[in-house]
């Protein structure tokens, strides 16, 4: 029997990049911090992102049918907290950063390590979350920068160059 607590303890050992998923469209503009993103295939360029169904962004993302995965760098820790709702919950987390639009209209963070602007191809409810398969329609790659990684329930900064 694998309890939810034991599972989370194990998953804390799986280091993961931190990203902000944004969306915009008829259902409104929203964004949230996630750490469950993975590459699926480069042909066609596709990724998977898992979002908690209890999140206020969840229905908005699905209704708009588009999302942008903004991969964060080491300087984005405060932004990651803002989109996780850990600063003033009613403040607009989009304020104070430069955003652009690429193909779908979802906000792309100008300073992102990489931004993947996607159309949702498939969403499937699995327990508390939805697994969302996305095809990348446009993207940007940022300049070389440290990565922001979540591991052992803490933020870590990973240098662009490997340590010796």
């Amino acid at each position: 029997m694998v309890t939810a607590n034991l599972f989370r303890e194990g998953m804390a050992r799986l280091g993961a990049a931190v990203a902000i998923v944004t969306t915009d469209g008829p259902a409104g503009r929203r964004g949230l911090t996630v750490s469950a993103v993975c590459s699926v295939t480069d042909s066609p360029p596709s990724l998977m992102v898992c979002i908690n169904r209890a999140s206020r962004s969840h229905p908005v993302v699905l209704a708009n049918g588009v999302l942008c995965v903004n991969v964060l760098n080491g300087g984005h820790e405060p932004l990651s907290q803002a989109f996780a709702g850990r600063r003033a919950p009613d403040a607009d987390p989009f304020l104070g950063e430069d955003w652009r639009t690429l193909a779908t209209g979802a906000p792309a963070l100008a300073s992102a390590a990489a931004a993947f602007d996607c159309r949702i191809k498939l969403a499937r409810e699995i327990g508390t979350h939805s697994a969302i398969l996305c095809e990348v329609e446009a993207m940007t790659v940022g300049s070389d920068a440290d990565a922001l990684v979540y591991f052992n329930r803490r933020f870590h900064h990973l240098p662009w160059e490997a340590s010796a």
Copy 2:
């Protein structure tokens, strides 16, 4: 137009934990190194792993219907290379490490940072890969250790404690 090269350039910016996916059963014992694993939900404990369909392990994993995701620590870099086929391709990469079985019979690495022993619930071909949804039937959590993370096309070691 997002080319495969541009997509891979962007994905190189998404730091990811390194794991060895193993399987055993009627179709045989196999293992391969992956970096596309993500948590899906803790209820029921579920994860997603994406495997290249060209991999020799791919049909074996699907035929057995079970797999174990062994999350690696900083000391496992040579093992990761062995399961990526980057050492002697015909050598048995399982040799020289301690393996056990938990619930499904898939090999669990005794020294893993965490081992998630899973039954496959759903597999879907997406381009070059299969996205495989798994439910965790048993697991182990290792002692505190640095993480092995792949970022910017290199291995990095992430300290257990966050740097100040």
